[in-house]
């Protein structure tokens, strides 16, 4: 029913079409059952990701923003098949990873990696740094201890860590350094694709910029493709080529970064952008302050999921669900009344 939203040809610009598509997500759904009652019957579902389609081109950084609980992490995980999809497919280099099994899946793990938000929780406190970084090599490569060690040194230098400290436990490293360890682990196998799930959100600004620089550097050097999940819009803007905005499990807007930030199409995107305090004093802009909280994904509002908070909502919004459609060249939004130029 939503074939139309399947954007096979994401950008009207022919150039983009010519580029190789690495990840092609089609109508992906991920529902978590809600157990209730005497026999733990499933009485409902948390629609964490609900019918999302997107494509990521080789070498590009796709930024994903949205409020807490809107399904960003879930989407990232399902794309990596760390969780099974409820429905839909994820094509990686043209192959559906949710159909893979056994050996293929193992090989897939070499191609796709993830970097996490929490610099404390993502490293096993009982492992030495060299074991953490060497773990993927141990699992996937038949390498001797010495070879692994050499590679670990190489990786640590690549991410700007002092390799002489590889014989230490993670608790001796600062947040930024730990994040680098996590990055070193992720790139150990030369993956093509990395999901960075809020990779810099927990870091202080001064360290955050170091890590952003590192990620950009690695992307250039290793030709990585990123799915960059963040709630810091400025960071997303800085690093991403294209940006997707999610709301309550739905993708509400996708577009080239510059244009999306300059003139958002979806009222939610606009609200999100205006809600961010800018480090420019005296410019207390009239912002669109959304009312209320994000509704529960367990029972999302009918029609457009945003209509309960949307300042521009009309009757139609509560009845008909808008589809993610190309509103302008290279830009899609799921809104009945997109903010086309000049009428914000």
């Amino acid at each position: 029913m939503s074939t139309e939203t399947e954007v096979k040809n994401p950008s009207a610009a022919g150039v983009a079409a010519a580029e190789e598509i690495l990840i092609d997500v089609r109508n992906l759904k991920k529902y978590f059952p809600i157990h209730k009652g005497l026999l733990s019957r499933v009485v409902g579902q948390v629609k964490a990701v609900d019918d999302v389609s997107l494509t990521i081109k080789k070498g590009e950084t796709f930024g994903l923003v949205g409020e807490s609980g809107c399904g960003k992490s879930t989407l990232g995980r399902v794309i990596l098949r760390l969780q099974g999809a409820t429905e839909g497919e994820v094509l990686f280099n043209g192959r559906d990873i949710h159909e893979m099994s056994g050996k293929d899946l193992r090989e897939l793990r070499e191609e796709m990696q993830i970097i996490f938000q929490d610099p404390f929780g993502s490293l096993n406190p009982r492992f030495l740094v060299k074991d953490i970084i060497g773990e993927p090599l141990r699992v996937h490569r038949n390498m001797s201890g010495k070879e692994i060690d050499e590679r670990v040194v190489e990786l640590m230098e690549m991410v700007g860590l002092d390799a002489s400290r590889r014989n230490r436990y993670p608790h001796e490293f600062s947040g930024g350094q730990r994040q680098r360890i996590g990055i070193a682990r992720a790139i150990a196998l030369h993956p093509q694709f990395i999901v960075a799930d809020e990779a810099v959100s927990a870091l202080d600004v001064s360290v955050q910029s170091q890590v952003i620089n590192l990620l950009m550097k690695l992307q250039k050097e290793l030709g990585l493709t990123f799915l960059f999940i963040a709630h810091g819009l400025n960071v997303v803007r800085h690093i991403s080529d294209r940006v997707g905005v999610m709301y309550l499990g739905k993708m509400v807007e996708v577009g080239e970064t510059e244009t999306l930030f300059a003139a958002p199409l979806h009222p939610y995107t606009a609200a999100l952008l205006s809600a961010i305090p800018k480090p420019t004093p005296g410019r207390r802009q009239e912002r669109i302050v959304l009312q209320g909280d994000v509704p529960s994904p367990a029972n999302p509002p009918s029609g457009c999921r945003f209509h309960t908070r949307c300042p521009l909502a009309q009757a139609k919004c509560s009845q008909v669900e808008p589809l993610l459609e190309e509103i302008m060249p290279g830009r899609q939004a799921a809104c009945h009344f997109p903010l086309v130029k000049g009428d914000s």
Binding site: R77, L80, F116, P125, R126, H140, R166, N167, H171
Partner: protein, 339 residues
């Protein structure tokens, strides 16, 4: 899952000792000035350094070591055969005739018997703790990691085990089956692994949500690899604390069962057996009942001190309390806001 139980018994969590950053060295470092740094003071060393500063724990360690050494060296220390009867010299007073603590009603040397009893009591204590740790860890780990119906089955089973008083179960089984030491160990272990299972399960439930588990999964580490290589290692400290305390309770259980006449059977001897014997002679010689009881008390105290020592060494709040104490001291000397 909806049990509302809060695992209070448990020392859970990824241990705070490791997640509290201590001295972060400034980042830029000249690699040339520093050779590959030595093996770091790992979690064990850190644990030890805190542990060794706890006087109670260290006393416990010394006492326990003393008993273990005495038990191990019993044949060399004791001058007598523990079951050697010398009917010429029953009920000697302590100190007479080279009998350090005197003799019992059959002229057996009490000190010697205490030493040999220590062997059995300690053997049972440690073996039971070890066995239940193994059983409990496996059940708890599988239950906590996989969750779902496996968890449900295991936990209902634990519920069943927990609903029948352990002592009753032990008595029942020992009364039905024979009470050889190996069975005794098995039975005690089979009735005491539940707390470890719950603990490990609780810890695993928490740990499996950690991002490093997901990272391991993303790398392609198998479930068993995650359970045994990654998680069990992180659950090890709370397990150790619990196991230590279990040594004590196993020794107590053994003595109780032996006292009831269901445990160790003569001519083998344990502290419980000695107590049970001595009770008959209470009217004749009260001291005979005092020695084995004291031994039990001391060993179990020692073991509990050690267990608590480890727990405290792992507990960041303990350092808080210490802080408070230091603070008091400091305030006394300097503070302007002293009150």
């Amino acid at each position: 899952m909806s049990e509302m139980k809060v695992e209070v018994h448990a020392v859970t969590g990824n241990d705070p000792l490791l997640s509290v950053p201590t001295g972060l060295p400034p980042e830029p470092r000249d690699p040339s000035t520093e050779k590959l740094s030595k093996r770091p003071p790992g979690p064990w060393r850190m644990l030890w350094s805190k542990f060794s500063r706890n006087p109670y724990a260290m006393t416990g360690l010394v006492v326990l070591t003393f008993f273990v050494v005495m038990a191990l060296l019993a044949p060399w220390i004791a001058k007598y055969d523990p079951s050697r009867i010398d009917m010429m010299f029953p009920n000697l007073k302590p100190g007479t005739d080279g009998h350090l603590l005197g003799t019992d009603e059959l002229g057996r040397d009490i000190f010697t018997r205490l030493l040999y009893s220590a062997r059995i009591s300690l053997l049972i204590g440690f073996s039971v703790a070890l066995t239940s740790v193994i059983i409990g860890s496996i059940v708890g780990a599988i239950s906590g990691y996989f969750g779902g119906w496996i968890d449900t089955i295991f936990m209902r089973f634990v519920d069943v085990m927990n609903s029948v008083p352990t002592l009753f179960l032990n008595i029942l089984v020992l009364a039905i089956f024979s009470s050889e030491i190996k069975y005794m160990i098995m039975i005690l272990a089979l009735t005491s692994w539940m707390s470890i299972a719950r603990l490990v399960r609780g810890t695993f439930l928490q740990l499996r949500e950690m991002q490093y588990v997901e990272a391991a999964r993303a790398i392609g580490v198998s479930s068993w690899g995650i359970i045994f290589r990654h998680l069990l290692r992180n659950a090890s400290f709370p397990i150790i604390v619990n196991a230590t305390l279990m040594v004590g309770s196993a020794i107590l259980s053994e003595s109780a069962l032996s006292w009831l006449g269901l445990g160790i059977q003569a001519p083998a001897t344990s502290w419980g057996v000695m107590l049970s014997n001595a009770q008959e002679f209470m009217l004749v010689d009260k001291l005979q009942a005092v020695y084995p009881g004291l031994c039990i008390l001391l060993v179990v105290l020692a073991v509990n001190f050690i267990g608590d020592g480890i727990r405290d060494a792992l507990d960041p709040r303990q350092s808080m309390s210490k802080t408070r104490r230091r603070l008091k001291q400091w305030r006394k000397n300097y503070s302007k806001s002293g009150n």
